[in-house]
């Protein structure tokens, strides 16, 4: 997924869309907006980002799950099987982005890139409702896809690369 920070306005439509699409209980959220302000008035830099689970290539949550409930599919999406999760909390401790939470039913939950919508050929809920169209979703292994071309042409960054997790959500700056 590629997100353009120059176009995000922080409206939180993606947060509410995800909550309604995935039945996230009130009080929890699978994605959120962060605002970073640098400098002093009147020379200020503002960055708005929509963050979620980064579906890392070297995911620490998959590595430390004792039952294998946290697994990674071939296309890179990290999912949690609720029936195999014992609720030990190790994956929550190991995520540097605090992307996981304990669902009130006991298992651990997080952003799934709307896997059920991808199977039907639709885009994830957050990408489809964004009013400024700042979110792009596609196959990074395919050099002709929109996301690969965006990464080739513009400067981009990832969150906390020093944690060694190789996250797969890129932010265009």
């Amino acid at each position: 997924m590629v997100i353009d920070t120059l176009k995000c306005v922080g409206c939180s439509d993606c947060v509410v869309a995800c909550q309604t699409e995935n039945d996230v209980p009130i009080g929890y959220c699978r994605d959120w907006i962060t605002e970073t302000v640098n400098g002093s008035y009147p020379t200020i830099e503002l960055e708005l980002k929509s963050e979620r689970c980064n579906h890392c290539d070297n995911a620490p949550c998959v590595r430390c799950c004792p039952t294998g409930a946290s697994h990674q599919l071939d296309n890179g999406i990290v999912l949690v099987t609720g029936n195999e999760c014992i609720g030990c909390g190790a994956c929550i401790e190991s995520c540097p982005y605090d992307a996981r939470y304990q669902h009130p039913d006991g298992y651990v939950d997080k952003c799934t890139f709307c896997h059920h919508r991808l199977e039907k050929g639709q885009l994830p809920a957050c990408v489809s409702v964004c009013p400024t169209k700042c979110m792009y979703f596609g196959d990074l292994d395919n050099p002709n896809s929109e996301v690969s071309k965006l990464l080739k042409n513009r400067k981009h960054k990832t969150l906390a690369p020093e944690a060694g997790t190789k996250p797969q959500v890129y932010y265009l700056t």
């Binding site: 959220c29 907006i33 962060t34 605002e35 029936n83 014992i86 995520c95 605090d98 969150l159 944690a163």
Partner: protein
């Protein structure tokens, strides 16, 4: 000025403003696991070296504590799970990359062995409660014959039990306070030292108390060296590790860490045991109890402080 905040008002319970997923059951389990590992290591080692008649407390009396400690630790872990009905899923697969999976399997193997170990000493430990069933008596004799085999199995298993608690924490690269490789050996040495302290408390002969007093002294010195190593390593680390260091030496946990863990838990018992070796009479219960309290507080501090450290926000 720099400002970083959640515009969308994120306030997930137990995660914001700082992570609080693991509470006291995990710290209690880490302490009990280390204690049991230390006790079983010494029990196995003394039996393999053939000195079990000279040091009865370490193989007999103190080893009653290990099955109790392991059972209480397992109950504490089970209590901490949030999806309790599915705990059996832990035993449907072995995941080599997950230290928690190693721990689950090692606990599964070592807990019955510790019960069998106590069972093999049953007639010596509980002479008043004679076993009424004949097959239990033959079972006990079978265990006594195989005691040396059990001891040989116990030594590596107890080392794995002691060290995996540290490796479990150091495998989380998202918590800078835990993400150093010294935590594994540090927890192992701490566990062995609490095990030696328990043996001192339960020992009956002065010779045994002195031997384990010396062993405990050496282990305390090694543990102090490893803690210094850990602090130096974090001083030389990245910004997040320096901030993690500040929690322990200059922040909220300084009193607990330096006061209870280092001074009361390590330095004072070392001085007391040294003066005892020189010749002064000191009741041995005091350094042993201080070491036990120091071990427990150390694990509480590590679990609580580690969850506050983070890479982002």
């Amino acid at each position: 000025m720099q400002e970083e905040l959640f515009t969308s008002g994120r306030n997930i319970p137990n995660i914001d403003p700082s992570l609080e997923i693991w509470h006291w059951p995990i710290s209690v389990y880490l302490f009990l696991g280390g204690l049991a590992a230390g006790l079983l290591f010494f029990a196995g080692l003394i039996t393999v070296l053939g000195k079990d008649k000279e040091y009865p407390a370490s193989v007999k009396f103190a080893s009653i504590v290990s099955p109790i400690a392991l059972t209480l630790g397992l109950l504490a872990l089970f209590y901490d799970l949030t999806h309790k009905l599915y705990f059996w899923r832990l035993y449907t697969t072995i995941r080599i990359e997950s230290p928690m999976s190693w721990g689950a399997w090692v606990l599964l193997i070592i807990t019955p062995i510790s019960f069998l170990w106590v069972m093999s000493y049953y007639s010596e430990l509980f002479p008043k409660w004679k076993l009424n069933f004949e097959f239990l008596n033959t079972f006990e004799k079978f265990l006594q014959k195989n005691r040396r085999n059990m001891a040989i199995a116990l030594i590596p298993l107890s080392i794995i039990l002691g060290i995996y608690t540290g490796i479990l924490l150091s495998a989380f690269n998202a918590r800078p306070l835990w993400n150093n490789a010294i935590l594994g050996p540090l927890f192992l040495v701490s566990g062995l030292s609490t095990g030696a302290a328990t043996i001192i408390l339960l020992a009956k002969s002065a010779k045994e108390k002195h031997l384990f007093g010396k062993i405990d002294l050496i282990l305390i010195v090694i543990e102090l060296g490893l803690i210094v190593h850990m602090l130096m390593g974090m001083y030389a680390g990245s910004e997040v590790q320096l901030e993690a260091m500040q929690l322990l030496v200059g922040g909220e946990f300084t009193l607990m860490f330096f006061g209870f863990v280092i001074i009361l838990g390590l330095i004072v018992p070392a001085i007391l045991e040294l003066t005892e070796l020189i010749g002064y009479k000191i009741p041995v219960a005091i350094p042993a109890l201080l070491v036990l309290i120091g071990g427990l507080v150390f694990r509480f501090v590590m679990v609580e402080a580690g969850q506050i450290t983070r890479y982002l926000y």
